[in-house]
Point group: C2
Chain length 350, copies 2
């Protein structure tokens, strides 16, 4: 087996996460392994999302396609944030939106969940990570990831995507005991899952709080932050930088940052300069509007340079989108954008 250096400081991406000096701004994209890529579409024509995620060779293939094609500074393992739900005892299907059989509708439904869930059954993700690390052979680091507690809880309760999160908010606000018990299980299985990813070779860990924007700052502080803090503190000693991405969290970014990650990922609804100002001591990741990847080159370039200008002179900046790549994105724009980030991000870096 290949030697796996724990925190290889030659990586531009890992250096930026640690707020160290870099030659130019590192770049990767959320959902860089996705439907906008011909190889991934061909894979999906033959296999379901879960099949790909559960077959290490296929997950490896999906993970590597963007790395082979574009000058990205990090790979992110192909998986689905809902996999840990299966380890907790729920059944997930994609048709094509995710559907959870018999969602958690009240405190009594918690009995159907494993009381001390572990991520052993998700061994295939570890396998895929080992495979990808071997294939990458040190070229770029590999990011492992999981969904954040609120996002996972809302899927478990709503049974699928939601607009208003009414059932989730009701359980959260009206059944504090059941809510804590649910979040305890989520934290437990996620810790086990992410430790396994790290042990298998993941060199950074990102937690996706894609639906944090449904919450008020007070809800976040009271009902979510304690669980997220526990999660990050359980990952602290692993020697992998921790990234916490939230969408719609600009109103309570300071609370969000208190969860304890090294890097905070922000969406495009805030200036990067302002994010840095409000996040002292943190590296910042983001935040181009994914819709800009559909624009003509000059428009895309101008927007990317605007972000780079705002982050210029700041240590600890990782260029990314403010959300996942859209399926309609022309792959050529992804290449161009990565190239421009490297070209224009090398300026007045401290």
């Amino acid at each position: 087996m290949t030697m796996i250096p724990a925190f290889p400081m030659e990586s531009r991406f890992l250096r930026a996460c640690a707020r160290r000096k870099v030659d130019t701004v590192p770049v990767w994209f959320m959902r860089q392994a996705g439907r906008y890529l011909p190889g991934y579409r061909a894979l999906r024509a033959k296999h379901s999302i879960l099949e790909i995620a559960k077959t290490p060779e296929l997950a490896c293939e999906a993970t590597l396609e963007p790395i082979r094609k574009f000058p990205l500074d990090a790979a992110i393992i192909f998986a689905d944030i809902l996999l840990p739900l299966e380890a907790m005892g729920l059944r997930v299907r994609f048709s094509p939106a995710p559907e959870i059989d018999r969602p958690i509708r009240g405190p009594s439904d918690l009995k159907r969940l494993a009381s001390r869930p572990e991520a052993d059954s998700l061994f295939f993700v570890g396998e895929a990570i080992r495979l990808v690390r071997r294939e990458l052979d040190g070229k770029v680091p590999l990011i492992g990831f999981a969904g954040a507690p609120f996002t996972l809880a809302s899927y478990m309760i709503e049974g699928g995507p939601s607009r208003d999160f009414l059932r989730t908010k009701a359980l959260m606000r009206e059944s504090p005991g059941a809510w804590r018990s649910l979040l305890d299980r989520i934290v437990r299985v996620t810790l086990s899952y992410l430790r396994m990813q790290k042990a298998s070779g993941a060199q950074a860990i990102q937690l996706f709080d894609s639906w944090a924007g449904a919450l008020s700052p007070e809800d976040y502080r009271r009902h979510i932050l304690p669980a997220t803090k526990r999660l990050f503190s359980g990952l602290k000693g692993l020697g992998a930088p921790l990234i916490y991405f939230g969408s719609g969290a600009s109103g309570f970014l300071e609370d969000f940052a208190r969860a304890g990650s090294d890097v905070v990922g922000v969406d495009w609804r805030i200036d990067i300069a302002e994010a840095f100002r409000r996040l002292p001591g943190k590296a910042v990741q983001g935040n181009l509007d994914p819709a800009l990847l559909l624009a003509p080159a000059p428009v895309l370039k101008k927007a990317a340079r605007q972000i780079l200008r705002q982050a210029s002179g700041r240590r600890g900046f990782v260029f990314n989108l403010g959300h996942g790549i859209l399926p309609q994105t022309p792959p050529d724009n992804v290449r161009r954008l990565a190239e421009w980030v490297h070209q224009y991000g090398g300026g007045r870096r401290k």
Copy 2:
């Protein structure tokens, strides 16, 4: 005809908008005339949204139902934000989501729009306002409203509700001439529409920028703010307080406030104390999560008191939700909430 005082300072709501001393916090709710009310549902069983909006007696009835039932401090005229699109030459249907026939897909489509649109054809809204003012007889002031330029433009371009606003953003970023021309027309018709509402008796004006949260601060400043500024400055001399509500705009609240309203309405994704801090010189309106109106009374009460505590000691606070009332809301909770705001909002007001 009843005498219509321009800016009656005996009103708690209007006083708060002007940041004057009040006996207690005034309260009204976005979409307070809506599907959660039995009377409105009965009206809708017989009439379409457009029929109600276009028939002054029905619009008046819908406007007054919540005022008759609950101790609210302001009425808001029943209308739809898409009405001005008809005055611009587009056809709007509701089935039940709004659909625009032959949306604006490129610069050449602008030819189909009236080049100097006026709101004369929306005279029925003025009629409804006069009727409501007569019925209210000075009990509470009446708010007129319109959709903000970005929100209206996106309907005109997408042809209906949208998730990613890809077509709107493409036109905005790639065809600046056409975009400006479109926004010019929207500003023109909206100015005409809101002046007519004011002349008919509206005592405050709210602009709904419900989709501002789709934008980056840079997009907002460059593509939206100039139009919104022009709109507000054209309404400035009317003697009605101007309220600017935005959803998802917490990341660029300062830019949003520069548009020029007297009151800034915020969603629940920011603490009210923080909104006041970031909006010096402005009155603030908001911001309870509408999902809380579905919660048991003690949960709702606690959340409302938390907001009141944060706003306590501040001049210029108007209690509202962070978005419209949800259809599933029990009317009794609306009454309770309004009562609590009055009861607990009277404390340490300066």
